[in-house]
Symmetry: C2
Subunit: 253 residues, 2 copies
């Protein structure tokens, strides 16, 4: 890594430093390697630590670096493609579903969730907690909201909570005919519980996929799935289609 | 907005502050309103400015706040749903395409783009620049890479560059039979040229949608589209399907 002084560059310093660092990552570092500490890096490039941190944050956003508590900043492996599969319409928990069911409770959801479900704002809904693991790493956490009106014949006797209860709720849900579903992806920041499930700090950038499942002309279930933005790219499209193995942005800038 | 001292709270201070601020945004501020300056806010909540900035950054990631040069920090309107439409397979520039064609050049792309196109690493490809505007705001910028082998009959005589050239390239591309396409969404940071097109600062978080168009068993075109992550949610799914008007994460945390 060179010792270029960045004083004379007209573009924002951190942005130029990001580019210099990005090139150094390509040429001098390998995946998993730990970067020198911030003080050494800042000294080497002749920048303030605040500038260095801005550049490191950029590279973290782009998936080039990972910052891990107790380890430091390491060179990130390429992001893993995680199929979101909006094309095949299927109920959560149907055959072939990749999510693991962890828990279930009955609680009044956030007002916005109640509105999306068109349930009353003080009406408790079944909330199924699920997680998704790829290559041994947790990649996503999901809250699946199912109003009681979608599963009217559910009995409370056998399993009042837990994974068995979650499976019973999903089984009841599958009695409805799925008419359609739509999804949206947006940027969010990890809430405390999601952060824990995903092995991240609260506030870490995440990709939030919201899916609405339609039956009998209304929203029968609502899924809010939080994916790690640092390690995941969400893939859509033809089943068995080609996979873009490398991030085209990676060396394009 | 209260003056709660945050000293005694066990969770990270900025995270607690984010929650307090988020509630204040709901109850005391309206969309477009300018927040008090950082010094005043920090004093009011009894936190260091670095802590305040972290909290503001979180709320910006979540789409609650917008920071604009020369204006300050304002309360953001709800994100706009932008249909990405991976379900309907169509060539870029086909009837009904929402993108506006701006320019075209012939250049050697980044190595990763060349690899995805399976073109040679020093082979120039047609690069069509397009933009997407929703409700009068720029929401996305696209680079569409088309190898010369996909448009072999293109003549260079009439329009060597510019929008006319771009249209000629797309017209030639449409001669191929589109066999399929797949897409991926991931988090990125705006490059300088994208940032300018999107009215953002370089490094702003963006959602990068990469789409591969397949013809004759190979990648005939590759689109790298950069969406503003602050103002957009990308929607997928049934045409004419329901729309989730409010961010279910917004008040869920």
């Amino acid at each position: 890594m060179g010792t270029t002084q960045l004083e004379s560059v007209p573009e924002p310093k951190y942005w130029h430093l990001r580019t210099v660092l990005s090139e150094a990552l390509d040429s001098e570092f390998s995946v998993g390697e730990i970067l020198p500490n911030e003080r050494d890096l800042a000294a080497r490039f002749g920048v303030a630590r605040a500038t260095l941190r801005q550049a490191l944050e950029q590279l973290e956003l782009e998936g080039r670096l990972q910052r891990r508590r107790g380890v430091g900043t390491t060179v990130a492996p390429p992001r893993v493609g995680v199929a979101v599969g909006t094309e095949q319409h299927a109920w959560p928990g149907a055959a072939g579903d990749v999510w693991q069911t962890a828990d279930c409770d009955l609680a009044v959801p956030a007002a916005s969730v109640a509105d999306a479900l068109e349930s009353g704002r003080d009406e408790p809904v079944h909330t199924v907690h699920r997680s998704r693991v790829t290559h041994g790493q947790p990649v996503a956490a999901e809250l699946l909201y199912i109003p009681q009106s979608s599963v009217p014949d559910l009995s409370g006797i056998d399993a009042p909570s837990g994974a068995a209860r979650a499976r019973a709720v999903l089984r009841e849900l599958h009695r409805l005919e799925l008419e359609g579903q739509d999804s949206a992806v947006e940027l969010g920041s990890a809430r405390a519980d999601d952060a824990k499930a995903l092995d991240r700090l609260p506030g870490a950038p995440v990709l939030v996929v919201t899916t609405r499942y339609i039956a009998a002309g209304r929203t029968a279930a609502l899924s809010v799935a939080t994916y790690r933005a640092d390690t995941c790219r969400l893939t859509f499209g033809d089943s068995g289609g080609v996979e873009i193995h490398e991030d085209p942005q990676r060396r394009a800038s």
